[in-house]
Symmetry: C2
Subunit: 411 residues, 2 copies
Amino acid sequence: MKAEIITIGDELLIGQVVDTNSAFIARELNKAGITVFQITTVSDSREHILTALREASQRVKTVLITGGLGPTKDDITKTTLAEYTNDRLVTHAETLRRIEAMMLARNMTMNPLNRTQAEVPEHAVVIPNSCGTAPGMWIEKDGVRYISMPGVPFEMKTMMENEILPRLQQINTDVVIHRTLLVYGIPESALALQIAQWEDRLPATIQLAYLPASGTIRLRLSATGSDRNILENQVEKAIDEVRPLLGKNLLSVDIEQVEALAGQLLINHQKTIATAESCTGGNIARLITSIAGSSRYFKGAVVAYDNEVKCNVLKVNQQDIETHGAVSREVVEQMAQNVRTLLETDYGIATSGIAGPGGGTAEKPVGTVWVAVADASQTVSALFHFGNNRENNILRATNAAFNMLFERMQK
Amino acid sequence: MKAEIITIGDELLIGQVVDTNSAFIARELNKAGITVFQITTVSDSREHILTALREASQRVKTVLITGGLGPTKDDITKTTLAEYTNDRLVTHAETLRRIEAMMLARNMTMNPLNRTQAEVPEHAVVIPNSCGTAPGMWIEKDGVRYISMPGVPFEMKTMMENEILPRLQQINTDVVIHRTLLVYGIPESALALQIAQWEDRLPATIQLAYLPASGTIRLRLSATGSDRNILENQVEKAIDEVRPLLGKNLLSVDIEQVEALAGQLLINHQKTIATAESCTGGNIARLITSIAGSSRYFKGAVVAYDNEVKCNVLKVNQQDIETHGAVSREVVEQMAQNVRTLLETDYGIATSGIAGPGGGTAEKPVGTVWVAVADASQTVSALFHFGNNRENNILRATNAAFNMLFERMQK
């Protein structure tokens, strides 16, 4: 079963908003065995939306649409869908009651625009929106189903999970399996050569893809067919065969995010962690706490951006900062050790580097980063030379810190 | 001048990677007066890429392409572009030398896959990649220009800024102006009604869009035409007229990110800041430090996820935690005050809440968040009730904290 995604909104075409919705929808559809053939982003324009709907309907039988359902004038998806399906808008009594109850609960007064939110094409199946005012719509026309959802990410996500996927799963029988190996510390081309023979021998049902991101590479195996058992066995066998070729560069099978892997390892080992961050500015803590339940293993962080904070809060020896600089083995090791003591955790991880664009010197250019991991018995540190890009330096330092933690925990 | 963007990669269609590239490209093109008509995401499939190129060429004369230029077998953009333009691949001597020098500098050995990276269609203009091995390509065919860039974001960004935009700016004469008002603390439908009459009176050259995101709304005015002066005056006039209607809900004109606005205010007032974060887990610090030069005003943060850290590091009164709970006015105010004292800054901002999905009670359900801002003279705090979504609760708490800082700084 194939589907397409159409995301609607001028904000996407002028680059003001990054389209995270289609990635989420695509991921969920794939899990349900539905292949996404194409994602098309179009403007809040009646003609453009009509063309996109028509073109998608010539390629697939399922079209998921997000955006353009808001109460304001630039939101025209609903009227355009009604036009496309030769339907008229009518007030959906149940939705109107839901919106009224929602406004009441939020101590807000109902206004005329809220009321128009309850209008839907007469022949649409209304999909309730448990997080917001705009309802979803499921419309069938000439053998093609059009599913319209709000563009606000968490409203769309909740609707997708609770309403849309269960309905699609009843229709679809194809199987698509994706499994991902998280690899660290080897360049993409070297990795490709290292596993070339294995890749050549993969069965035709399995596709391989390389996804590099700031020091990590996600190696994805995708199998498509009709028999889940056969596909699962094929993929499992392929993974077993590639494991020895990847060695210690393989961080994980099936856990794609370093922060999720850290969480699982810490839970398994019943250990706690704290971070002391300079150049990563809280990014490691933010990633760790993005995982639900992270309070089981994460106690906190000290973001020591300023050297005074390194000395006063983390008790780094001021003389060491003066002698070696803040970006040095001496300082980053003390940061890791001292945050561990201060926050009373099993592990402490620390970063100190020059993210850029300013602050570089001939000796320590932008991209120079020290990372340390400390536990009760030992402190390990390493020096990295990343690049000139601030954002990428923060991400690479973050990934390096997680990787050093994994190495330490596996010893 | 109109353009389209084609992003290539199975990882985008299975939702493994969020396409941030097209937003960046669209933003840069818009700044240069080039309108993006459509963004199309297709798979690493020869036929699908050929179809997408053909279809885009029927709508616009400029097609920007990212992805599929890596050294591995799943990357087929280059060979497909050569096929599309009836060209053959040849080794580009200068690129080969550049790649060799790059490998040498990184202490890496050249492998056969690195060598194929230097191959390009014979009639392509080669665009140097200063951050990676894959070169960009500029190909003209039947009056349409195809510009192919790597999919790795920072490689693409650098190439776009240094090489592609200067060339496009020499070709384009159209003017597109976008200006954005950052609004906080008013629901979208209420805002729309509040400014309805103003919106109705906007000149036909100006388009208005509402972009809500976790408590903030970006109100974007876009003007299109040929005379920059006229457009600029029209937009300026419209902004002047809407200001009094927005009142204190208007946070800023032209600065779209709360973290950038915070940076500018702190620099203007010559003040420093620190954060004490519980439920936001370092997200505020991470955003502040994403801005280059933030070390001028940001000294650091204490992420006090665990109550012990609130007591031991931030010196919150343990009795208050026991009596009122960690998510309380008493605790969040002490966090804001004490991080300010501990890190010796002018302002301290603090968050304490229940992000979810676990941890809620009848009295304090998931989404309950206290935020406080302290300076030398006063501490202000406020209670929020957000929703059930962890990610959104973190984002809304973050925006609420920034907004309280702005209110405090403007007094």
